[in-house]
């Protein structure tokens, strides 16, 4: 029981911190933005339904660590863009209350002050190294505080679920997809075949 109250208090502290940090660091942040190293290639699809540029940039940094492809590399920028737009698509279907929670998490991660305090990453996301990001993910995963465990679970689940669910990546898990002969026998796939 004491653990719960402890983590509740921590959460309270974070949520008190956030509005303060938003106002205090906006000016600071806009100053930083220009000095941030641009990603090698800008994201392909910036017409997101839910994510904004800041949160897409966070995803871009995190995904290259969260996902290791077949060849043992990080996914390419194009793959990352596609992946982020699929995550965005999934988030559209979240309930309003849960979308707001995800927004709060991304605000926390995008504002320098709260990001630095909670993740140890003070530099802008594109400058964070893989080892910085790994350290942050492990710290959140293993933290004594529920609020960080929850943050880790949300990020890890969204990234992993979406990546391995994409037909382009089925092969990486040896999943053959729905049997072709079954699709051929079902009416809901007929129009698709005609369309190409």
């Amino acid at each position: 029981m004491t653990k719960t109250t402890h983590s509740r208090r921590q959460f309270l502290r974070l949520s008190l911190l956030t509005p303060f940090a938003v106002t205090a660091s906006t000016a600071y942040l806009s100053g930083c933005a220009t000095s941030a190293r641009r990603p090698d290639k800008p994201l392909q699809d910036t017409h997101f339904h839910f994510l904004d540029e800041d949160s897409a940039q966070i995803w871009q940094a995190i995904i290259t660590v969260m996902i290791v492809t077949d060849t043992g590399d990080s996914p390419s920028t194009d793959e990352v863009s596609l992946h982020i737009s699929r995550i965005d698509q999934g988030l559209r279907h979240f309930s309003p209350a849960n979308r707001e929670k995800v927004s709060d998490l991304f605000n926390l991660l995008s504002i320098t002050f709260t990001r630095g305090l909670t993740t140890g990453i003070w530099q802008p996301w594109p400058n964070a190294t893989h080892s910085d990001i790994r350290q942050f993910l492990d710290a959140w995963k293993n933290s004594r505080f529920q609020v960080f465990n929850q943050g880790y679970n949300v990020l890890a689940q969204l990234a992993a679920f979406t990546y391995y669910g994409e037909p382009e990546h089925w092969e990486e898990s040896g999943y053959p997809g729905p049997p072709k002969e079954i699709k051929a026998a079902l009416p809901q796939f007929k129009s698709q075949e005609i369309a190409g």
Partner: protein
């Protein structure tokens, strides 16, 4: 028989189905009975009332997703067919809540396991004062629903994923049995959780909802029941609002439904929410309390042989070896089954990232998973959770995992690893954020014995939400009586999983079908004679 989408082809011609997002102005509708929710409870009730000649209006918050939408694609299916776009969790984020939000409710996405309510549970409920729930009085209703929904033990050999559980139990001398399923002409392909692509699963979407529609009932979908309006001890109207099927934001169009009788079948979490939003008389503050989940944990095995855990009927073998291990009300028992393992779901539940995630995912064709459903609510150390309203009127479930449940979950982790090693697993890991793979049961067992289990680190799920509008004959400890009739409002019933006074101790759908069939039959008689 050729396979067709019964809602868009000739079969459905003449059915009244209304997409509330297409309504351009507010509506007032009058009817004999309005049924909120089209899942196990609502679908069953609507068909029985319509067959009795009553005018029935069905109100469903989810969309009308039918055969043409069922394309065996995880990323498409889960966000569209599940509550909160598959993002529903308990208040502290510790338990992922899988629940349907579509015409047919959770039956449209469930895994077809169909168990009669265990005698132990029925006797326990009877000892709590419930009337009409003895094994003898329920038997004809189970027979009736088994006939209606094609429920029979699965005669096809279990897929390799289920065989692991079977052979492990055989080696250990543990009990195991074949699961009965609600299917007709099943193709044994395994996509039940994404909406059955062949209409074989006898969900409410293809059985009772069409049954009610063909007897003149109407179906409004993308329509949320907001609240009931009471005057004294009687319900005057149900206020509903169109809901955007993607964002779940309310749209401007309102529908008011005036009926002789109101049946709430929005399930656990959903039904208490409607009653709470309506300020329903609740002198003992019981609405939303005692919500149960059958909390689920799981273990992952890498098997030497190919398992292809994404192929074949998802659940066909179960073990009740530990379900009643300490009597009905003693230490928490658990039922062991296996889940189907598709890539997105697998990647999402294992809780890893980077190289570790990729290493596990590469072995998917050799993965077996075993899960345990922990029986909650039978002991006072397991009082369940509480549904609360968020500021926007939507529900949130606070469900503390008590020490009593942790003991049950720990025992379940151990037994699942034991059964997988007995079946020849090369490696086993607990679905827990800190668990490595173990090569031997002794290592796994040592690690688990020493581990203090905590919320958000043990990966927990629920596909069975129950309670929150408990049945009983005593208004000081229950919300509705044994017939589902509300204790304080005359023309209001609740008929769904929310009325169970404890969890079921088995996958709940057939328990709901049989109870609803009995309660709806009584209600039809009452309304016809009035």
């Amino acid at each position: 028989m050729s396979i067709e989408d019964i809602y868009t082809t000739e079969s459905g011609a003449g059915w009244t189905t209304v997409d509330a997002t297409r309504l351009v102005k507010d509506q007032i509708i009058e009817t004999d009975v309005v049924v909120v929710g089209t899942g196990a409870g609502g679908g069953t009730t609507a068909e029985i009332l319509a067959n009795a000649g009553l005018n029935v209006v069905m109100v469903e918050e989810g969309a009308l997703n039918s055969l043409k939408e069922f394309k065996m694609d995880e990323l498409e299916a889960y966000p569209k067919l599940y509550q909160e776009g598959m993002s529903r969790v308990t208040a502290d984020g510790g338990i992922a809540i899988m629940q349907g939000r579509t015409v047919g409710g959770s039956t449209t996405v469930n895994w077809t396991s169909s168990f009669r309510t265990p005698d132990e549970t029925l006797k326990h409920w009877s000892s709590l004062g419930l009337k009409g729930f003895t094994p003898e009085s329920m038997a004809p209703w189970f027979d009736d629903r088994e006939r209606r929904l094609g429920i029979k033990p699965w005669t096809v050999p279990p897929n390799p994923n289920n065989q692991v559980l079977q052979s492990g139990c055989q080696r250990l001398g543990w009990s195991w049995h074949v699961i009965p399923r609600n299917v007709r002409g099943c193709w044994n392909i395994g996509y039940c959780g994404m909406g059955c692509p062949t209409n074989a699963k006898q969900s409410m979407l293809v059985t009772t909802v069409p049954g009610a529609l063909s007897r003149g009932a109407s179906l409004f979908y993308n329509l949320r029941a907001n609240h009931l309006q009471y005057q004294g001890t009687s319900t005057q109207a149900l206020e509903c609002q169109a809901i955007d099927p993607v964002s779940q934001e309310p749209l401007p169009v309102k529908v008011e439904i005036r009926a002789r009788h109101y049946v709430v079948s929005a399930s656990a979490i959903g039904s208490p929410t409607i009653l709470l939003r309506s300020n329903t008389p609740d002198p003992y503050k019981l609405i939303g309390k005692r919500t149960f989940l059958h909390p689920v944990n799981a273990t992952l095995a890498i098997m030497p042989e190919r398992i292809e855990p994404y192929k074949g009927a998802p659940q066909s073998i179960y073990s009740d070896q530990f379900n009643w291990r300490d009597g009905v009300t003693g230490e928490a028992g658990f039922k062991m089954e296996v889940p189907p393992m598709f890539p997105a779901l697998t990647a999402g539940i294992i809780g890893e990232y980077g190289r570790q995630l990729a290493d596990t995912m590469h072995q998917l064709p050799h993965i077996n998973a075993v899960l345990s459903l922990v029986r909650d609510g039978f002991n006072e150390a397991s009082p369940g959770g509480e549904v609360r309203l968020r500021s926007d009127g939507t529900p949130e479930l606070d469900y503390p995992v008590t020490d009593y449940l942790w003991r049950g979950l720990k025992e379940a982790y151990l037994r699942m690893a034991e059964v997988q090693f007995a079946a020849g697993a090369k490696k086993v890991k607990f679905l827990h954020n800190h668990s490595p793979y173990f090569n031997r049961y002794s290592e796994a067992s040592q690690w688990m014995q020493d581990k203090e289990l905590k919320i958000l680190q043990s990966r927990l799920f629920t596909a069975h939400q129950m309670g929150g509008c408990a049945m009983g004959e005593n208004p000081s400890s229950s919300v509705v009586n044994s017939d589902g009739q509300h204790h304080h409002i005359d023309n209001l019933s609740v008929i769904d999983a929310s009325t169970f006074p404890t969890s079921v101790g088995a996958n709940p759908q057939l328990s709901i079908y049989a109870m609803a069939a009995r309660q709806a039959t009584q209600l039809a008689q009452k309304l016809k004679s009035a």
